[in-house]
């Protein structure tokens, strides 16, 4: 994984894991890799990996079973709200960039509508 320079690494790894939960790559109740394997997978040091799990536990997104390891929460509502949060931040960022380009709310909605329609027709074209 490529890391952004100014953001703490543990936060970036947390975001990556959250994203994998939202997209369903990691499912509720799934066992997560051990601290050491997480460190190897993300090329980070084991203390950072341990911190990632600690912080995710504090947020209730992971839990630890003694002697067994760390697991993704079994609560689907939490994952759903994680998904909501992710969607919200993507939209926020999008609106900020579009506003920066000088579009107002109405124009932005129009653009999304248009792009969406084009996407639909492309997909329909494929299935035909």
């Amino acid at each position: 994984m490529k890391y952004e320079s100014s953001k703490p690494i543990y936060l970036q790894v947390m975001d990556s894991l959250k994203q994998r939960m939202v997209t369903g790559d990691l499912r509720p109740g799934d066992q997560l890799p051990s601290v050491r394997l997480l460190a190897i997978e993300y090329d980070i040091n084991p203390n950072t990996a341990a911190r990632v799990y600690k912080e995710l536990e504090l947020e209730g997104i992971c839990f630890t079973k003694r002697g067994e390891g760390t697991f993704v929460t079994e609560d689907p509502d939490l994952i759903r709200s994680l998904k909501e949060q992710t969607a919200k931040s993507i939209v926020k960022k999008f609106i900020k960039e579009m506003t920066g380009l000088g579009y107002d709310k109405f124009e932005i909605i129009q653009k999304i509508q248009k792009e969406g329609d084009e996407n639909d027709s492309i997909e329909n074209g494929k299935t035909d």
Partner: protein, 230 residues
């Protein structure tokens, strides 16, 4: 627990200081980056800790004040220069280390050379520089030491081999040891380190926790490095 401590550690060569009054503490369970450009004193620092250079002034304390001989058995040091004989094979390098160091773990070594894609019967003289670099790391990290010191482990190594070396370092990192890595390839090392120590002309110019340093300065260690040494 502090495994290694230096106080005003100094080494001069012909009156010119290579390392000057370096105060540092290395804790168990952490990975340290000893960073700085060529000639900043990294190698001299490591050689003193390894007992290969005698300090001009200052003090080195290994664990709870072990004697110089006893501390050698606790320190696994990997120098930049190759240290194998040409006639050896990958396998006999392991045997050689096993004879030398009580803490050498042949099983770990076997696993490591397999992971590094080195064949046991390969002759040292036939190794490419990248293969020799991998072998150096494999054999050093196969000791069960308390303090590991790797001098420029990523020099002259291709991207795939780098990943393997980094993985091998992470695997060895444990709550009861400290790993000190010197490098000028900061961007690659960055995510790996708990603590950083910047040396410039033999002096400490910056030290601290890597994540905190990143947060405080709002920039990567690599960017900070460029600023310090520009």
């Amino acid at each position: 627990m502090i495994l290694l401590k230096t106080e005003k550690l100094t080494k001069t060569f012909g009156g010119k200081p290579a390392v000057y009054e370096v105060d540092a503490e290395f804790e168990a369970g952490k990975l340290y980056g000893l960073l700085g450009p060529n000639g900043s004193g990294k190698t001299t620092f490591m050689k003193m800790v390894a007992g290969l250079f005698y300090p001009t002034a200052g003090k080195i304390t290994v664990m709870d004040g072990l004697s110089k001989t006893a501390s050698k058995s606790k320190v696994a040091y990997m120098p930049t220069e190759p240290f194998f004989y040409d006639y050896m094979t990958v396998k006999t390098v392991g045997d050689f280390f096993k004879d030398f160091y009580e803490d050498f773990d042949p099983e770990w070594y076997k696993e490591q050379i397999e992971y590094m894609q080195l064949t046991p019967d390969l002759r040292i003289r036939a190794l490419s520089s990248g293969m020799a670099a991998k072998l150096k790391v494999a054999v050093t990290m196969s000791r069960r030491a308390s303090i590991y010191m790797l001098d420029e482990p990523l020099n002259g190594i291709d991207l795939v081999a780098r990943d393997k070396i980094i993985t091998s370092i992470i695997k060895r990192s444990a709550p009861d040891n400290t790993i000190i890595i010197s490098s000028h390839l900061i961007d690659i090392m960055e995510n790996l380190l708990d603590e950083v120590l910047f040396l410039k002309d033999g002096r400490t110019v910056l030290k601290g926790n890597a994540e905190e340093t990143r947060e405080k300065n709002g920039k990567s260690i690599a960017d900070l490095y460029k600023e310090v040494y520009a």
